[in-house]
Symmetry: C2
Subunit: 683 residues, 2 copies
């Protein structure tokens, strides 16, 4: 009944583009050019195949120009398919009555109103999400033992075929294409305007919830820094006696801000309808398990007992992570020991005093790279059901390791060597160094690379004989293997179509994995600013300055340098919330400790014994821990209006369930009554 609306306008589609017959590209998939023809055919069949045969029901197109290494496929989907999946993944849209609720195909007419076209119902990023969802949920059936043409590449039942092919290098790249027009509008209101509010809703629509939430957090955190910056300057102006006040204030401020962020985050999650995401949601594509009926939804999904994940996490991953942390800790100590050793040598060797820290600063990034691979492997092996769980546990491992690498040397200097001057200079060096490196990596490097790659392209173009068709990267290999593609009967996108060039160009761009590195940068900065804030109060200022630029740099990077990232739905910043909170708790200890060790305070309290000073430290720390706990209790996680709205929705659903059951039972009862009166067993 309601699908009629969709069928009404089949001729409307893409009338203003050159290829009136071909649907738009939602995702580009690059397949290795070394692929067997048999495999490619099977893969395309899977993509196009019907749902009940284990297919994705997607539209696959090819393009005449490919790169040397891979064939480029354009993935699209029919309008009806898009709407069906939109319902399945519980997309929320605004209906005719201005209310945001989950879209269903049966109620299509409610969502398409006031002369709105059915094509405009779903945004581009929603369509991409839908296509990717379908792509990744093509799962191996019982009969799919292994990848055709590669008998060593075995599937297990229920495995995501697409993810497996990515793992094996059959599929080399997957990316959506940028929407130049929207991107231009977005950029002008985002990274081009230095003091305006970030266009959060537009960011969410274009890049998805995960990235929008990162920028919101960055914004929130940057604003929260203003108060410590102002106080830091005041402290410099007034006197040194403000240190205890400053220390207490900072701890309270950090706790307060993190609690308020939790509220804000829940508010956003409610508006984005991600607040209800749980570990029971649809499994991530890489979730391993035998296909079975889900206890909650009744859908056929891979099932794997949760306790196995716990056993792996606490039995294997946790101990291994701790071992890695201990190793990193000893590696951190090595330069200190080496420096001590060099100092004991005669004059002629003193020139080498800089060597140990230099070597250490080179070793750390290498350790990080290896640990990151290791943590990813472990987390994958733990087999978490949802993407959020996976991210949370991966980030937790990485953060623990990064904590040792970035902060433990400061602890060592502050509390073992007790050298406040060295701590201050180390803190300054590390803060400025890390920010400089990040800024270079994020701003200068990509701009330069952008510039040079264009130059390179231009010179390449000059070298190859220019034709009417763009023949970038064309070489012998491409010509040799083109037959595989030409034999396969799928629509071909015309070479003059802009998508062809875009698919080639954006395929070469860097990939933006997830905001992990961006969060990590903030995390390390947060640590430098708040853990030892009383030693180097001006840190907050450098951080603020950095972040104002960072917002624009990250924005520029996303819009201009990277491949368009896939949209990801998240309900919060995941493990980062806890990581920042723990850092806040540790900052209580470190700040009190510095207060206890600070020479200024010792001079003023020279009539205090060492034990009395230490007891004062213990007392102050416990008071602050108490304040932290009280703030945590007093500030509710969700704003009142969100709680009311959630309760209302819950109430309405419950009423609806009651009504549904009553309707069902009424039918049952009527049937039974009818039988009683007319049936053979009446009594």
């Amino acid at each position: 009944m309601s699908s009629q609306n969709v069928e009404d306008h089949p001729k409307d589609e893409g009338t203003d583009t050159e290829d009136a017959t071909l649907p738009p590209t939602y995702l580009v998939v690059q397949v290795t050019s070394k692929i067997q023809e048999e495999t490619l055919r099977w893969l395309i069949d899977k993509l196009k195949g019907r749902k009940r045969d284990g297919g994705g029901e997607l539209i696959v197109m090819k393009q005449p120009v490919n790169t040397a290494d891979s064939f480029i496929l354009h993935i699209s989907a029919s309008k009806l398919k898009l709407l069906e999946v939109a319902e399945e993944i519980e997309l929320v849209k605004t209906d005719r009555f201005g209310k945001r609720r989950e879209f269903t195909v049966a109620q299509l007419e409610d969502f398409v109103f006031d002369g709105m076209h059915v094509d405009d119902l779903l945004t581009d990023s929603e369509k991409q999400t839908i296509v990717r969802h379908e792509l990744e949920n093509i799962r191996a059936l019982t009969e799919d033992k292994s990848l055709p043409g590669y008998s060593t590449h075995k599937f297990y039942e229920g495995q995501s075929i697409f993810q497996a092919c990515q793992h094996w290098g059959i599929v080399t790249k997957v990316y959506p294409l940028h929407d130049r027009e929207t991107l231009k509008k977005l950029g002008s209101s985002w990274y081009m305007s230095l003091f305006a509010q970030q266009p959060l809703e537009e960011i969410r629509l274009y890049f998805g919830e995960a990235i929008a939430l990162y920028f919101k957090f960055l914004d929130f955190y940057t604003r929260a820094l203003i108060v410590p910056v102002v106080l830091g300057f005041l402290q410099l102006l007034v006197s040194r006696e403000t240190v205890p006040f400053f220390c207490v204030f900072n701890v309270v401020w950090v706790t307060l801000c993190l609690e308020l962020w939790k509220r804000k985050s829940n508010e956003l999650a409610f508006m984005w309808n991600t607040i209800g995401m749980t570990s029971m949601d649809e499994p991530r594509p890489n979730f391993r398990g035998t296909m079975g009926i889900d206890a909650i939804t009744g859908k056929v999904q891979p099932q794997s007992p949760r306790y196995m994940t716990y056993v792996k996490m606490y039995g294997v991953s946790l101990p291994l992570t701790v071992v890695c942390m201990v190793i990193a800790f000893y590696v951190m100590l090595l330069p200190f020991w080496a420096e001590d050793y060099i100092k004991q040598l005669d004059e002629s060797h003193q020139q080498y005093i800089i060597l140990p820290s230099l070597i250490y600063s080179l070793v750390v990034p290498i350790m990080n790279v290896y640990f990151r691979m290791f943590a990813t492997f472990l987390t994958e092996w733990e087999n978490h059901r949802t993407q959020s769980q996976y991210d949370r546990h991966r980030v937790t491992k990485l953060v623990l390791f990064e904590f040792v690498n970035n902060f433990l040397s400061l602890f060592y200097i502050g509390f073992i060597l007790r050298d406040m001057e060295m701590l201050r200079s180390q803190l300054r060096n590390m803060l400025i160094m890390s920010q400089a490196i990040c800024s270079f990596q994020e701003i200068i490097q990509p701009v330069a690379m952008n510039y040079y790659s264009r130059k390179l392209q231009r010179s390449k173009l000059k070298l190859s004989p220019s034709t009417s068709q763009p023949k970038l990267f064309k070489n012998d290999k491409f010509v040799e293997e083109v037959n595989i593609l030409t034999d396969i009967k799928i629509p071909t996108i015309q070479p003059e179509d802009l998508r062809v060039k875009q698919a080639l160009k954006e395929g070469e761009m860097e990939i933006y994995e997830d905001p992990y590195d961006d969060y990590l940068e903030l995390f390390i900065q947060f640590g430098y600013v708040f853990l030892f804030s009383s030693v180097y109060p001006i840190a907050a200022f450098w951080a603020l300055l950095n972040n104002v630029l960072e917002i624009r740099a990250d924005a520029f990077k996303l819009c201009k340098v990277f491949q368009r990232p896939m949209c990801r739905r998240v309900k919060d910043i995941g493990a980062w919330q806890r990581a920042f909170e723990v850092l806040g708790a540790i900052s209580i200890f470190t700040n009190c400790g510095i207060l206890y060790l600070s020479p200024g305070l010792r001079e003023k309290t020279s009539n205090f014994s060492e034990v009395q000073l230490l007891l004062t430290f213990v007392f102050l720390e416990h008071i602050l821990l108490g304040i932290r706990y009280l703030l945590h209790i007093a500030i509710s996680d969700k704003p009142e209006w969100v709680r009311v709205a959630l309760a209302k929705k819950n109430y309405e659903s419950k009423q609806a369930l009651k009504y549904e059951i009553s309707q069902k039972n009424r039918r049952l009862t009527l049937t039974r009554k009818f039988k009683t009166v007319h049936g053979p067993h009446s009594h």
Copy 2:
């Protein structure tokens, strides 16, 4: 349609009792005998009146024999009314398919199956809950300016009339009658069998969720004590060097048990369908506010902005509570100062050395009584919406005050005076004293009172001329005012009906307010056992012994000594969970502190400086705080099966809501289409 089942058996009711025409009594209400006739008539009209006229639609009966001070009314309700309210308060019953779900009248046939009688659907305690719910939800309408006959007793719109009358002393008592038969069965499997499992489900059905949860908690806590008891004995046998291990173990054990209790509690709440209770639920009868439409349910309910409650709580109640705590703290210090003063006097005054503590131990209970009244007043004034919130905030205030009274003297002895011997003896005295007093109050006193009151009754009976009718408490006053009752046309229960005697007798019994005192007793015991466990490890044994007896004593008390308490639904132990957790956190500090001060450890570590010892203490404490945090994170609040079941229910409700909306919209669309075709505005 389904109400037909109810009407089918109107003659079945109570055929085996003497008064075939009168329905059973669910609640007894005592009204002061000084009441104006006008007032009594108005009150009874309100009780009987129709819902749309602001009445309770209840059945009211009188009895011929009343006490000197009050008239006794028996409250009942029609079967249909009971079922209707059962649906309204979202009672959960098991349906024909063995599934527990919310009862609805429309689906009555689903819940009454296999020859089950419709009367047996609701348990006695459910019926009582329903009647009380209706009683307390008779609310003052706009035209009810004041209580008829008492122009000074003003109502505000939406006020619970019944609660107001209780407040003004018009209604003196409200209580359900005991069910002798069920009680006997319950008693024999509960307090009569010393080593059997408590019959938790029967307790819940008879006494309600709040009391069942208290007994479950008592049981859980008592079992958890076994491990510290065993370890305590082992420690005595082996050597003194186990103190650090014992201290660490205790802290971990306490955290672990409290986390596991939270799981257990959530499991029970799920099975009892109280897990979904929120602060948005139906307001408590005393909740003040103007009548308005509830944002969640759309029902007309008193509305009051939440922020006012927060302002009152944090602006007034919290500071006042802190002031009271500080006063209590100084009162606690007075005896120490007085003792010091006496010690400085000459020999002849040394006999008075015992006086200060004696006076203090007399002052504390008095302070407690006054603070309890004050806290109740404050919490009432804060105007919390639900009973759970009210209880939580009242208990929080009381616990803070009790903490100062019960534990701060131990802190003073341990950490200011640093007298470990005095701490041990004080701890022993307080533990044994408090348990002895409680046991006396709970076991010996009620048994003795029971005995003497019976003796008294018997002697009274001998004095009054015995007639065929029981004329207990009959005197001139009763005869004088009986006219008021006889004039009012409501059914009269015959004097030979057993209910009459029961109503009179149980009206004189003590009232069991809530499990507050019982929880408090456990809380104080928990503090004595775990805060300073390393000083007096045998405390756990005394506690265990006490609790094994306590279970039976409390059970006996509830079954035999007290009026039958009203059933109360709760989802957890409320503020007590947090109170025990905070005590657990404080125990980390105290146990580490005692370890630091313990002379035994100092002897062994004589090569350590004072500062080194203190630093060791700080280090150990932080490690333990870290372990506590990890346990808190690692142990999920709800067991897996509860989470799955909740997610499933949530999923089903959401699906039902979608379905309902689609049905509604279909109807709307059809109507619109019909109009378009046939209406005047077709185009």
